[in-house]
Symmetry: C2
Subunit: 226 residues, 2 copies
DNA sequence: CTTCGTAGTTGAATATCGTTCACTTTCAAG
DNA sequence: CTTGAAAGTGAACGATATTCAACTACGAAG
């Protein structure tokens, strides 16, 4: 690269870098506050303070509070997608991959503390989850159906029903209305939604699964800045 | 009754009757406003105005706005329960009753205009629905399981998953993200959650059902006062 | 019929919070 | 160095859930 290009890149970087830092700081702050107090109780002022920006700056990055909440959830879903990817790594059979993916979602949604407050806006959570993880799952279901392993007529419908059931179940576990011990049994039931035999679902889920590597393990979204 | 008792009843009645009228008027007004604008956009002042009471009076009957919304939903669920009762009247087989009940819930949640705005608070809706219709359904599932027709290990878990799936599905239909034509197919899928064979569920649902009598038909909660 | 205490009603006042906007600061290009 | 556009700021705004001190209606007692 020429010196001029290099100089330009550095000069442009000042503003661009600050913007990126602000956006990340805002999502991190919002994630923290919303996880602590719930989405409704989190105030824009506290989020702005924690991100070290003025109250008005938030609106340069997000159109509204709901917009910010959705951005936080997209981030959370990104982490969930990583976990699914890692947990299903190495499996071939689509039905098996789907079974493990569902179990991973259930486990994550009920054990990650960040989900606890966020799930109270279950509508948004289900929406974002459907958008973020939907394509992967729907494709999986479609391929399973084509291979004859599942009787899934409409993969989108099946996954939509499953998504909302998962969110509702997660909410119930967090509120201690159902025992975490029934997570596997819930997963088996959910398999039925897509046309898998209960016995087969149980067999798939009971096989030993690899432990997740630490970098995929649960951790707060907020981390030390470099 | 003695004249004194009668006199007492009338005198006591003045206050008591006004209170009952206020409570009913408030729920009716809240139902109207919330159905029109959504729960969040409905203001306590407009609700109070439409019920012809002062703004402060609302808080003599309901602790908070959420409390009022829950009361409205209880009322809506009461109507749903009536519809289920009527639609399943005359059937003997528990699995059949369950199938029709699920279909009725799906149809109601996706066609009653009142639900359209209310469903946006899907968390509350699912909670109230679980409380209101849960016992009936759970009992039904437990009896079906005992008779060997279903393989439902935990009826409560099964109905909880089903409830949230229904609410989420209703939301999706209202937002036109899935076609109403898939309501029956969703119902059949939901049957799988409780351990019914898809083919059997389809058979149960495709039998002709009686039309609902007018008094159970969909109608706005608000009615002319006498 | 009159009086009195209680329970219910009221709506103006309060507090909170999401959002806006007129002004200031930053910064890269010329 | 100058400059103007882009980004940041926080005080001010508007909306609205909730509170509360004053007010009213009612029914019981004398």
């Amino acid at each position: 690269m020429t010196p001029k290009e290099s100089e330009n890149r550095i000069k442009e970087g000042r503003v661009a870098r600050r913007q990126r830092r602000n956006r990340e700081a805002l999502i991190r702050a919002a994630s923290d506050v919303m996880s602590e107090k719930g989405i409704d109780a989190a105030t824009m002022l506290e989020i702005a303070d924690r991100a070290d920006v003025g109250a008005g700056t938030v609106y340069n990055y997000f159109r509204s509070k709901d917009d910010l909440a959705i951005a936080v959830l997209e981030e959370v879903m990104q982490g969930l997608a990583l976990r699914i990817e890692s947990a299903t790594d190495g499996y071939e059979d689509t039905a098996h991959i789907y079974a493990i993916a569902v179990l991973t979602v259930l486990e994550t949604a009920t054990s990650d503390p960040r989900w606890q407050q966020l799930l109270n806006r279950s509508g948004i959570v289900a929406d974002v989850m459907f958008r973020r993880i939907g394509p992967f799952t729907i494709d999986l279901l479609a391929r399973s159906a084509r291979s004859g392993r599942l009787q899934t007529g409409d993969p989108t419908l099946a996954w939509r029903l499953t998504t909302h059931a998962i969110v509702g179940f997660g909410l119930a576990v967090i509120r201690k209305e159902v025992a975490p011990v029934s997570i596997p049994s819930a997963a088996i039931r959910l398999m039925a939604l897509v046309g898998l035999e209960a016995a087969e679902a149980e067999a798939l889920l009971s096989r030993p699964r690899p432990t997740l590597p630490p970098e995929i393990a649960l951790q707060p979204l907020s981390s030390e800045e470099k």
